[in-house]
Protein backbone atom coordinates (compact mmCIF):
# COMPACT_ATOMS: atom_id res chain seq x y z
CA UNK A 1 0.00 0.00 0.00
CA UNK A 2 1.50 3.30 -1.11
CA UNK A 3 0.76 6.55 0.68
CA UNK A 4 -1.03 7.79 -2.47
CA UNK A 5 -3.92 5.43 -1.92
CA UNK A 6 -4.92 7.24 1.27
CA UNK A 7 -5.07 10.57 -0.44
CA UNK A 8 -8.56 11.78 -1.25
CA UNK A 9 -9.06 13.89 -4.37
CA UNK A 10 -9.18 17.54 -3.26
CA UNK A 11 -7.09 17.10 -0.17
CA UNK A 12 -4.06 19.32 0.03
CA UNK A 13 -1.50 16.59 -0.62
CA UNK A 14 -3.29 15.70 -3.81
CA UNK A 15 -3.11 19.19 -5.32
CA UNK A 16 -0.48 20.68 -7.57
CA UNK A 17 -0.01 24.44 -8.01
CA UNK A 18 -0.72 25.59 -11.59
CA UNK A 19 -1.34 29.34 -11.40
CA UNK A 20 0.00 31.80 -8.83
CA UNK A 21 -2.13 34.52 -7.21
CA UNK A 22 -0.62 37.09 -9.54
CA UNK A 23 -1.35 35.03 -12.64
CA UNK A 24 -4.92 34.36 -11.59
CA UNK A 25 -5.72 37.96 -10.74
CA UNK A 26 -4.19 39.19 -13.99
CA UNK A 27 -6.10 36.56 -15.95
CA UNK A 28 -9.40 37.62 -14.44
CA UNK A 29 -8.68 41.31 -14.90
CA UNK A 30 -8.07 40.55 -18.58
CA UNK A 31 -11.28 38.52 -18.68
CA UNK A 32 -13.41 41.28 -17.14
CA UNK A 33 -11.93 43.84 -19.54
CA UNK A 34 -12.62 41.49 -22.43
CA UNK A 35 -16.30 41.14 -21.52
CA UNK A 36 -16.65 44.93 -21.29
CA UNK A 37 -14.88 45.35 -24.65
CA UNK A 38 -16.95 42.66 -26.30
CA UNK A 39 -20.28 44.07 -25.12
CA UNK A 40 -19.44 47.66 -26.02
CA UNK A 41 -17.88 46.73 -29.35
CA UNK A 42 -20.86 44.63 -30.28
CA UNK A 43 -23.20 47.60 -29.81
CA UNK A 44 -21.13 49.56 -32.31
CA UNK A 45 -20.99 46.68 -34.77
CA UNK A 46 -24.67 45.87 -35.23
CA UNK A 47 -27.77 47.90 -34.27
CA UNK A 48 -29.42 44.67 -33.10
CA UNK A 49 -27.03 44.72 -30.14
CA UNK A 50 -27.19 48.46 -29.45
CA UNK A 51 -29.07 47.74 -26.23
CA UNK A 52 -25.78 46.66 -24.62
CA UNK A 53 -24.88 50.38 -24.62
CA UNK A 54 -27.38 50.74 -21.76
CA UNK A 55 -25.00 48.69 -19.61
CA UNK A 56 -22.48 51.50 -20.03
CA UNK A 57 -24.83 54.40 -19.33
CA UNK A 58 -25.59 55.09 -22.99
CA UNK A 59 -23.78 55.12 -26.32
CA UNK A 60 -21.70 58.26 -25.81
CA UNK A 61 -20.15 57.08 -22.55
CA UNK A 62 -19.72 53.58 -23.92
CA UNK A 63 -17.80 54.95 -26.91
CA UNK A 64 -15.58 56.92 -24.52
CA UNK A 65 -14.90 53.92 -22.29
CA UNK A 66 -14.26 51.28 -24.98
CA UNK A 67 -10.81 52.48 -26.11
CA UNK A 68 -9.67 53.22 -22.55
CA UNK A 69 -10.60 49.72 -21.44
CA UNK A 70 -9.00 48.46 -24.65
CA UNK A 71 -5.67 50.09 -23.86
CA UNK A 72 -5.80 48.69 -20.32
CA UNK A 73 -6.71 45.29 -21.70
CA UNK A 74 -3.70 45.27 -24.02
CA UNK A 75 -1.31 46.18 -21.21
CA UNK A 76 -2.68 43.52 -18.86
CA UNK A 77 -2.90 40.92 -21.61
CA UNK A 78 0.74 41.27 -22.62
CA UNK A 79 1.87 41.41 -18.98
CA UNK A 80 0.05 38.11 -18.49
CA UNK A 81 1.23 36.61 -21.80
CA UNK A 82 4.84 37.41 -20.95
CA UNK A 83 4.62 35.20 -17.86
CA UNK A 84 3.36 32.33 -19.97
CA UNK A 85 5.67 32.63 -22.94
CA UNK A 86 8.24 30.09 -21.73
CA UNK A 87 5.67 27.33 -21.43
CA UNK A 88 4.13 28.12 -24.82
CA UNK A 89 7.18 27.55 -27.01
CA UNK A 90 6.25 25.14 -29.76
CA UNK A 91 8.00 21.77 -29.79
CA UNK A 92 8.07 18.98 -32.43
CA UNK A 93 5.67 16.87 -30.35
CA UNK A 94 2.97 19.53 -30.81
CA UNK A 95 2.60 18.46 -34.43
CA UNK A 96 1.65 14.94 -33.35
CA UNK A 97 -0.85 16.30 -30.84
CA UNK A 98 -2.51 18.45 -33.50
CA UNK A 99 -2.71 15.50 -35.89
CA UNK A 100 -4.67 13.58 -33.27
CA UNK A 101 -6.65 16.60 -32.08
CA UNK A 102 -10.03 15.69 -33.57
CA UNK A 103 -9.87 12.24 -32.05
CA UNK A 104 -9.11 13.87 -28.70
CA UNK A 105 -12.00 16.31 -29.05
CA UNK A 106 -14.39 13.44 -29.72
CA UNK A 107 -12.85 11.22 -27.04
CA UNK A 108 -11.87 8.69 -29.66
CA UNK A 109 -8.50 7.02 -30.08
CA UNK A 110 -5.37 7.34 -28.02
CA UNK A 111 -4.47 10.84 -26.87
CA UNK A 112 -0.94 11.99 -27.68
CA UNK A 113 0.82 12.69 -24.36
CA UNK A 114 1.45 16.37 -23.73
CA UNK A 115 5.08 17.19 -23.03
CA UNK A 116 4.82 20.55 -21.27
CA UNK A 117 2.44 22.66 -19.24
CA UNK A 118 0.27 23.29 -22.30
CA UNK A 119 -0.95 21.14 -25.17
CA UNK A 120 -0.52 22.22 -28.79
CA UNK A 121 -4.09 23.52 -29.00
CA UNK A 122 -3.51 25.79 -26.02
CA UNK A 123 -0.23 26.97 -27.52
CA UNK A 124 -1.83 27.83 -30.85
CA UNK A 125 -4.55 29.73 -29.01
CA UNK A 126 -1.84 31.57 -27.09
CA UNK A 127 0.05 32.65 -30.20
CA UNK A 128 -3.08 33.53 -32.19
CA UNK A 129 -4.26 35.77 -29.33
CA UNK A 130 -0.83 37.42 -29.22
CA UNK A 131 -1.31 38.40 -32.87
CA UNK A 132 -5.03 39.23 -32.66
CA UNK A 133 -4.63 41.53 -29.66
CA UNK A 134 -1.72 43.31 -31.37
CA UNK A 135 -3.81 43.96 -34.46
CA UNK A 136 -6.80 45.07 -32.37
CA UNK A 137 -4.57 47.42 -30.40
CA UNK A 138 -3.00 49.05 -33.45
CA UNK A 139 -6.26 49.41 -35.41
CA UNK A 140 -8.01 50.61 -32.27
CA UNK A 141 -5.43 53.33 -31.73
CA UNK A 142 -5.80 54.44 -35.36
CA UNK A 143 -9.53 55.12 -34.89
CA UNK A 144 -9.38 56.49 -31.33
CA UNK A 145 -11.11 59.84 -31.27
CA UNK A 146 -10.21 62.47 -30.27
CA UNK A 147 -6.62 61.45 -29.59
CA UNK A 148 -5.22 59.63 -32.62
CA UNK A 149 -7.88 59.46 -35.33
CA UNK A 150 -7.68 63.15 -36.38
CA UNK A 151 -4.04 62.62 -37.39
CA UNK A 152 -4.70 59.42 -39.32
CA UNK A 153 -5.51 59.54 -43.07
CA UNK A 154 -9.12 58.56 -43.78
CA UNK A 155 -8.09 55.62 -45.99
CA UNK A 156 -6.09 54.14 -43.12
CA UNK A 157 -9.00 54.70 -40.73
CA UNK A 158 -11.31 52.82 -43.11
CA UNK A 159 -8.89 49.89 -43.23
CA UNK A 160 -8.59 50.02 -39.43
CA UNK A 161 -12.39 49.95 -39.01
CA UNK A 162 -12.74 46.80 -41.10
CA UNK A 163 -9.72 44.97 -39.71
CA UNK A 164 -10.72 45.83 -36.12
CA UNK A 165 -14.18 44.33 -36.67
CA UNK A 166 -12.84 41.19 -38.38
CA UNK A 167 -10.25 40.63 -35.64
CA UNK A 168 -12.87 41.16 -32.95
CA UNK A 169 -14.79 38.19 -34.36
CA UNK A 170 -11.65 36.08 -34.68
CA UNK A 171 -11.06 36.90 -31.02
CA UNK A 172 -14.62 36.02 -30.06
CA UNK A 173 -14.24 32.61 -31.70
CA UNK A 174 -10.87 32.11 -29.96
CA UNK A 175 -12.17 33.15 -26.55
CA UNK A 176 -15.28 31.03 -27.09
CA UNK A 177 -13.15 27.95 -27.70
CA UNK A 178 -10.94 28.84 -24.72
CA UNK A 179 -13.88 29.18 -22.33
CA UNK A 180 -15.61 26.06 -23.64
CA UNK A 181 -12.44 23.97 -23.47
CA UNK A 182 -11.99 24.97 -19.83
CA UNK A 183 -15.58 23.99 -19.06
CA UNK A 184 -15.41 20.77 -21.09
CA UNK A 185 -12.18 19.53 -19.54
CA UNK A 186 -13.41 18.88 -16.02
CA UNK A 187 -10.95 19.87 -13.34
CA UNK A 188 -9.45 22.69 -15.44
CA UNK A 189 -11.51 25.55 -14.07
CA UNK A 190 -10.06 25.22 -10.57
CA UNK A 191 -6.59 25.88 -11.99
CA UNK A 192 -7.67 29.45 -12.70
CA UNK A 193 -10.13 29.90 -9.83
CA UNK A 194 -8.16 28.28 -7.00
CA UNK A 195 -4.72 27.96 -8.49
CA UNK A 196 -4.40 24.20 -8.16
CA UNK A 197 -5.24 21.03 -10.07
CA UNK A 198 -5.43 17.44 -8.86
CA UNK A 199 -2.62 14.99 -9.47
CA UNK A 200 -4.89 12.78 -11.56
CA UNK A 201 -5.84 15.74 -13.77
CA UNK A 202 -2.22 16.70 -14.29
CA UNK A 203 -1.21 13.12 -15.04
CA UNK A 204 -4.00 12.71 -17.59
CA UNK A 205 -3.77 16.01 -19.41
CA UNK A 206 -0.20 17.19 -18.95
CA UNK A 207 1.94 14.16 -18.07
CA UNK A 208 5.16 15.92 -19.03
CA UNK A 209 4.38 18.82 -16.72
CA UNK A 210 3.31 16.39 -13.97
CA UNK A 211 6.62 14.58 -14.19
CA UNK A 212 8.52 17.79 -13.47
CA UNK A 213 7.13 17.92 -9.92
CA UNK A 214 9.75 16.64 -7.56
CA UNK A 215 12.46 17.17 -10.13
CA UNK A 216 15.15 19.79 -9.58
CA UNK A 217 14.18 21.73 -12.73
CA UNK A 218 10.49 21.36 -11.86
CA UNK A 219 7.92 24.16 -12.16
Amino acid sequence: MTPMEHVRPGSAENLLPRYSHGERLTHWAVAIAYVALFLSGLAMFHPFFYWTSALFGGGAFMRLVHPIVGAGFAVLFYAYALRLVRDNRLVPGDRRWLAAMFGYMNKRGEAVPVEGKYNAGQKLMYWSMIVVVAVLLVTGLLMWRPYFAPAVPLVLRRVANVVHAVMAFVMFVGIGIHVYAAYWTKGSMRAMTRGTVTRAWARAHHPGWYATFGRKDGP
Binding site: P47, G59, A165, V173, T185
Partner: protein, 292 residues
Protein backbone atom coordinates in the same frame (compact mmCIF):
# COMPACT_ATOMS: atom_id res chain seq x y z
CA UNK B 1 -35.55 63.82 -31.35
CA UNK B 2 -36.87 66.94 -29.76
CA UNK B 3 -39.25 67.57 -32.64
CA UNK B 4 -40.39 64.46 -34.42
CA UNK B 5 -40.21 64.52 -38.17
CA UNK B 6 -42.51 62.35 -40.23
CA UNK B 7 -40.38 63.02 -43.29
CA UNK B 8 -37.48 60.75 -42.34
CA UNK B 9 -36.81 58.17 -45.05
CA UNK B 10 -33.58 56.74 -43.69
CA UNK B 11 -32.16 56.55 -40.21
CA UNK B 12 -28.71 55.30 -39.17
CA UNK B 13 -28.27 51.94 -37.41
CA UNK B 14 -31.99 51.32 -37.21
CA UNK B 15 -33.75 47.97 -37.19
CA UNK B 16 -37.15 49.46 -38.02
CA UNK B 17 -38.51 51.34 -41.01
CA UNK B 18 -38.72 55.08 -40.34
CA UNK B 19 -42.11 56.80 -40.51
CA UNK B 20 -42.77 58.04 -44.00
CA UNK B 21 -46.41 59.05 -44.21
CA UNK B 22 -45.52 62.08 -46.29
CA UNK B 23 -42.46 60.68 -48.00
CA UNK B 24 -44.09 59.84 -51.33
CA UNK B 25 -45.49 63.36 -51.61
CA UNK B 26 -42.29 65.22 -50.94
CA UNK B 27 -40.21 66.90 -53.64
CA UNK B 28 -36.47 66.25 -53.92
CA UNK B 29 -34.70 69.48 -53.09
CA UNK B 30 -31.27 70.74 -54.08
CA UNK B 31 -28.94 73.69 -53.72
CA UNK B 32 -27.09 74.81 -56.83
CA UNK B 33 -23.64 76.35 -56.42
CA UNK B 34 -22.63 78.13 -59.59
CA UNK B 35 -18.87 78.51 -59.20
CA UNK B 36 -18.73 80.83 -62.22
CA UNK B 37 -20.85 83.43 -60.42
CA UNK B 38 -19.16 83.24 -57.02
CA UNK B 39 -17.04 86.24 -56.04
CA UNK B 40 -15.76 84.74 -52.78
CA UNK B 41 -17.35 87.38 -50.52
CA UNK B 42 -18.08 84.80 -47.78
CA UNK B 43 -21.50 86.28 -47.07
CA UNK B 44 -22.76 82.67 -47.08
CA UNK B 45 -20.22 81.76 -44.39
CA UNK B 46 -21.39 84.67 -42.25
CA UNK B 47 -25.07 83.88 -42.84
CA UNK B 48 -24.46 80.25 -41.88
CA UNK B 49 -22.89 81.23 -38.56
CA UNK B 50 -25.63 83.75 -37.94
CA UNK B 51 -28.64 81.57 -38.70
CA UNK B 52 -27.25 78.60 -36.82
CA UNK B 53 -26.18 80.88 -33.99
CA UNK B 54 -22.58 79.72 -33.76
CA UNK B 55 -19.38 81.77 -33.81
CA UNK B 56 -16.12 80.21 -34.93
CA UNK B 57 -12.67 81.19 -33.69
CA UNK B 58 -11.08 84.15 -35.43
CA UNK B 59 -8.35 82.25 -37.26
CA UNK B 60 -4.97 83.26 -38.59
CA UNK B 61 -3.93 84.06 -42.16
CA UNK B 62 -2.34 81.13 -43.99
CA UNK B 63 -1.27 83.15 -47.01
CA UNK B 64 -4.56 82.85 -48.84
CA UNK B 65 -8.11 84.06 -48.43
CA UNK B 66 -9.15 80.79 -46.80
CA UNK B 67 -10.49 81.53 -43.34
CA UNK B 68 -11.07 79.35 -41.48
CA UNK B 69 -8.57 77.14 -43.25
CA UNK B 70 -10.83 74.13 -43.05
CA UNK B 71 -14.36 73.15 -42.16
CA UNK B 72 -14.86 73.01 -38.41
CA UNK B 73 -17.57 71.90 -36.03
CA UNK B 74 -18.82 75.49 -36.24
CA UNK B 75 -17.99 76.52 -39.80
CA UNK B 76 -20.17 74.18 -41.83
CA UNK B 77 -19.33 75.95 -45.06
CA UNK B 78 -15.97 77.42 -46.07
CA UNK B 79 -14.87 79.26 -49.19
CA UNK B 80 -11.76 77.67 -50.64
CA UNK B 81 -9.55 79.70 -52.97
CA UNK B 82 -7.41 77.92 -55.55
CA UNK B 83 -4.99 79.47 -58.03
CA UNK B 84 -4.68 77.44 -61.22
CA UNK B 85 -2.66 78.04 -64.41
CA UNK B 86 -4.91 76.80 -67.20
CA UNK B 87 -3.63 76.37 -70.77
CA UNK B 88 -4.87 79.21 -72.98
CA UNK B 89 -6.51 81.00 -70.04
CA UNK B 90 -3.63 81.93 -67.80
CA UNK B 91 -4.02 82.25 -64.06
CA UNK B 92 -7.48 81.44 -62.82
CA UNK B 93 -8.79 82.10 -59.34
CA UNK B 94 -11.19 79.31 -58.51
CA UNK B 95 -13.47 79.75 -55.52
CA UNK B 96 -15.28 76.73 -54.19
CA UNK B 97 -17.92 76.82 -51.49
CA UNK B 98 -17.13 73.65 -49.56
CA UNK B 99 -19.59 71.86 -47.32
CA UNK B 100 -21.85 68.83 -47.14
CA UNK B 101 -23.21 67.70 -50.53
CA UNK B 102 -26.18 65.82 -49.01
CA UNK B 103 -25.65 62.58 -50.93
CA UNK B 104 -28.67 60.60 -52.01
CA UNK B 105 -26.74 57.55 -50.69
CA UNK B 106 -24.98 59.05 -47.66
CA UNK B 107 -21.82 57.23 -46.56
CA UNK B 108 -21.97 58.90 -43.15
CA UNK B 109 -25.44 57.50 -42.49
CA UNK B 110 -24.42 54.03 -43.61
CA UNK B 111 -21.32 54.04 -41.39
CA UNK B 112 -23.01 55.49 -38.28
CA UNK B 113 -23.50 52.91 -35.47
CA UNK B 114 -25.80 55.08 -33.31
CA UNK B 115 -29.51 54.56 -34.01
CA UNK B 116 -31.09 57.73 -35.35
CA UNK B 117 -27.96 59.88 -35.07
CA UNK B 118 -27.99 60.50 -38.82
CA UNK B 119 -31.26 60.79 -40.74
CA UNK B 120 -32.21 61.51 -44.30
CA UNK B 121 -35.41 63.41 -44.94
CA UNK B 122 -37.69 62.70 -47.87
CA UNK B 123 -36.56 65.97 -49.48
CA UNK B 124 -32.99 64.61 -49.59
CA UNK B 125 -31.44 66.57 -46.72
CA UNK B 126 -29.02 64.50 -44.61
CA UNK B 127 -29.07 65.71 -41.03
CA UNK B 128 -27.06 64.86 -37.91
CA UNK B 129 -29.04 64.46 -34.69
CA UNK B 130 -26.36 65.32 -32.14
CA UNK B 131 -28.60 64.10 -29.33
CA UNK B 132 -27.87 60.52 -30.43
CA UNK B 133 -24.29 60.98 -31.63
CA UNK B 134 -21.75 58.90 -29.68
CA UNK B 135 -18.64 60.56 -31.08
CA UNK B 136 -17.07 57.51 -32.71
CA UNK B 137 -15.98 59.19 -35.95
CA UNK B 138 -17.41 56.53 -38.27
CA UNK B 139 -19.29 59.22 -40.25
CA UNK B 140 -15.90 60.68 -41.19
CA UNK B 141 -14.68 57.36 -42.57
CA UNK B 142 -17.99 56.86 -44.37
CA UNK B 143 -17.99 60.28 -46.05
CA UNK B 144 -16.39 60.38 -49.53
CA UNK B 145 -16.05 64.19 -49.31
CA UNK B 146 -14.35 64.58 -45.90
CA UNK B 147 -17.08 66.78 -44.44
CA UNK B 148 -18.07 65.89 -40.84
CA UNK B 149 -16.15 67.64 -38.07
CA UNK B 150 -16.18 66.96 -34.34
CA UNK B 151 -16.49 69.41 -31.52
CA UNK B 152 -13.88 68.91 -28.86
CA UNK B 153 -16.31 70.32 -26.34
CA UNK B 154 -19.14 67.80 -26.67
CA UNK B 155 -17.41 65.17 -28.89
CA UNK B 156 -20.28 65.23 -31.35
CA UNK B 157 -20.21 65.51 -35.14
CA UNK B 158 -21.43 68.59 -36.99
CA UNK B 159 -21.92 69.57 -40.60
CA UNK B 160 -24.17 71.61 -42.89
CA UNK B 161 -27.85 70.90 -42.20
CA UNK B 162 -28.90 72.56 -45.46
CA UNK B 163 -30.88 74.65 -42.98
CA UNK B 164 -33.34 71.79 -42.53
CA UNK B 165 -35.13 73.94 -39.95
CA UNK B 166 -35.67 76.77 -42.45
CA UNK B 167 -36.53 74.42 -45.31
CA UNK B 168 -39.11 72.66 -43.14
CA UNK B 169 -41.08 75.92 -42.94
CA UNK B 170 -40.69 76.82 -46.60
CA UNK B 171 -37.61 79.06 -46.47
CA UNK B 172 -34.42 78.69 -48.49
CA UNK B 173 -31.13 77.97 -46.66
CA UNK B 174 -29.47 81.00 -45.06
CA UNK B 175 -26.49 80.91 -47.46
CA UNK B 176 -28.80 81.01 -50.48
CA UNK B 177 -30.85 83.82 -48.95
CA UNK B 178 -27.78 85.98 -48.49
CA UNK B 179 -25.76 85.33 -51.65
CA UNK B 180 -25.40 88.72 -53.40
CA UNK B 181 -24.53 87.39 -56.88
CA UNK B 182 -27.09 84.62 -57.06
CA UNK B 183 -24.32 82.09 -57.32
CA UNK B 184 -26.51 80.02 -55.00
CA UNK B 185 -29.98 78.82 -55.90
CA UNK B 186 -32.38 76.55 -54.09
CA UNK B 187 -35.41 74.58 -55.24
CA UNK B 188 -36.50 71.21 -56.49
CA UNK B 189 -33.63 69.07 -57.70
CA UNK B 190 -35.19 68.92 -61.18
CA UNK B 191 -35.38 72.72 -61.38
CA UNK B 192 -31.81 73.06 -60.14
CA UNK B 193 -30.53 70.60 -62.76
CA UNK B 194 -32.46 72.51 -65.46
CA UNK B 195 -30.91 75.76 -64.22
CA UNK B 196 -27.48 74.12 -64.20
CA UNK B 197 -27.96 72.82 -67.77
CA UNK B 198 -28.96 76.27 -68.93
CA UNK B 199 -25.94 77.83 -67.24
CA UNK B 200 -23.56 75.22 -68.66
CA UNK B 201 -24.95 75.97 -72.13
CA UNK B 202 -24.35 79.69 -71.59
CA UNK B 203 -20.82 79.07 -70.35
CA UNK B 204 -20.05 76.88 -73.37
CA UNK B 205 -21.29 79.62 -75.69
CA UNK B 206 -18.91 82.00 -73.93
CA UNK B 207 -15.95 79.72 -74.59
CA UNK B 208 -15.92 77.51 -71.49
CA UNK B 209 -16.14 74.32 -73.58
CA UNK B 210 -15.43 72.09 -70.59
CA UNK B 211 -18.17 73.54 -68.38
CA UNK B 212 -20.15 70.84 -66.59
CA UNK B 213 -22.58 70.05 -63.81
CA UNK B 214 -21.28 68.16 -60.76
CA UNK B 215 -23.94 65.75 -59.50
CA UNK B 216 -21.86 62.61 -58.92
CA UNK B 217 -23.69 59.38 -59.68
CA UNK B 218 -21.42 57.26 -57.46
CA UNK B 219 -23.28 58.45 -54.36
CA UNK B 220 -26.68 58.35 -56.07
CA UNK B 221 -26.45 62.04 -56.99
CA UNK B 222 -26.24 64.86 -54.48
CA UNK B 223 -28.62 67.46 -53.14
CA UNK B 224 -25.95 70.10 -53.49
CA UNK B 225 -25.03 70.48 -57.17
CA UNK B 226 -22.16 72.49 -58.63
CA UNK B 227 -21.70 74.22 -61.97
CA UNK B 228 -17.98 74.00 -62.73
CA UNK B 229 -16.94 76.39 -65.53
CA UNK B 230 -13.69 74.54 -66.27
CA UNK B 231 -15.32 71.14 -65.96
CA UNK B 232 -12.59 69.02 -64.40
CA UNK B 233 -13.60 68.42 -60.72
CA UNK B 234 -9.93 67.95 -59.78
CA UNK B 235 -9.31 71.68 -60.38
CA UNK B 236 -11.88 72.37 -57.68
CA UNK B 237 -10.50 69.64 -55.39
CA UNK B 238 -13.69 67.65 -55.79
CA UNK B 239 -13.37 63.87 -56.23
CA UNK B 240 -13.98 62.91 -59.90
CA UNK B 241 -15.91 59.73 -59.10
CA UNK B 242 -16.82 59.82 -55.41
CA UNK B 243 -18.34 56.71 -53.92
CA UNK B 244 -18.66 55.12 -50.51
CA UNK B 245 -15.41 53.25 -49.94
CA UNK B 246 -15.83 49.51 -50.64
CA UNK B 247 -14.26 48.95 -47.22
CA UNK B 248 -17.02 50.94 -45.52
CA UNK B 249 -19.71 49.37 -47.71
CA UNK B 250 -18.51 45.89 -46.71
CA UNK B 251 -17.99 46.70 -43.04
CA UNK B 252 -21.40 48.31 -42.56
CA UNK B 253 -23.17 46.09 -45.08
CA UNK B 254 -25.63 43.29 -44.40
CA UNK B 255 -23.18 40.54 -45.40
CA UNK B 256 -20.52 41.52 -42.85
CA UNK B 257 -23.11 41.96 -40.11
CA UNK B 258 -24.62 38.56 -40.93
CA UNK B 259 -21.18 36.91 -40.97
CA UNK B 260 -20.40 38.40 -37.57
CA UNK B 261 -23.64 37.16 -36.05
CA UNK B 262 -23.21 33.72 -37.66
CA UNK B 263 -19.64 33.49 -36.27
CA UNK B 264 -20.88 34.25 -32.76
CA UNK B 265 -23.89 31.95 -33.01
CA UNK B 266 -21.82 29.05 -34.31
CA UNK B 267 -19.45 29.26 -31.35
CA UNK B 268 -22.35 29.12 -28.90
CA UNK B 269 -24.30 26.44 -30.77
CA UNK B 270 -21.13 24.46 -31.56
CA UNK B 271 -20.17 24.42 -27.88
CA UNK B 272 -23.59 23.29 -26.71
CA UNK B 273 -23.85 20.58 -29.37
CA UNK B 274 -20.34 19.29 -28.70
CA UNK B 275 -21.03 18.97 -25.00
CA UNK B 276 -24.36 17.25 -25.57
CA UNK B 277 -22.84 14.73 -27.97
CA UNK B 278 -19.38 14.09 -26.54
CA UNK B 279 -19.94 14.90 -22.90
CA UNK B 280 -17.38 16.26 -20.48
CA UNK B 281 -13.77 15.17 -20.49
CA UNK B 282 -13.22 13.71 -17.05
CA UNK B 283 -10.37 12.00 -15.26
CA UNK B 284 -10.72 9.29 -12.65
CA UNK B 285 -9.64 11.05 -9.48
CA UNK B 286 -8.94 7.72 -7.77
CA UNK B 287 -6.51 6.66 -10.45
CA UNK B 288 -3.13 6.77 -8.80
CA UNK B 289 -1.30 6.59 -12.11
CA UNK B 290 0.00 3.08 -11.74
CA UNK B 291 -0.95 0.57 -14.38
CA UNK B 292 -3.13 -2.22 -13.01
Amino acid sequence: MAIQSLDVVRSSASMSTPPRVRAEETVDLAKLIDVSKCIGCKACQAACLEWNDVRDEVGTCAGSYDNPRDLTDKSWTVMRFYEEELPGRGLQWLIVKDGCLHCEDPGCLRACPAPGAIVQYANGIVDFQQEYCIGCGYCQTGCPFNIPRFSNVDQKAYKCTLCSDRVAVGLEPACVKTCPTQALSFGSKRDMLDLADERVRELKERGFEQASTYDPAGVGGTHVVYVLPHGDPALYRLPAKPEISPLVAFWRGGVAKALGVIAMASVVVGGIFHYMKVGPLEVDEHDDGRRP
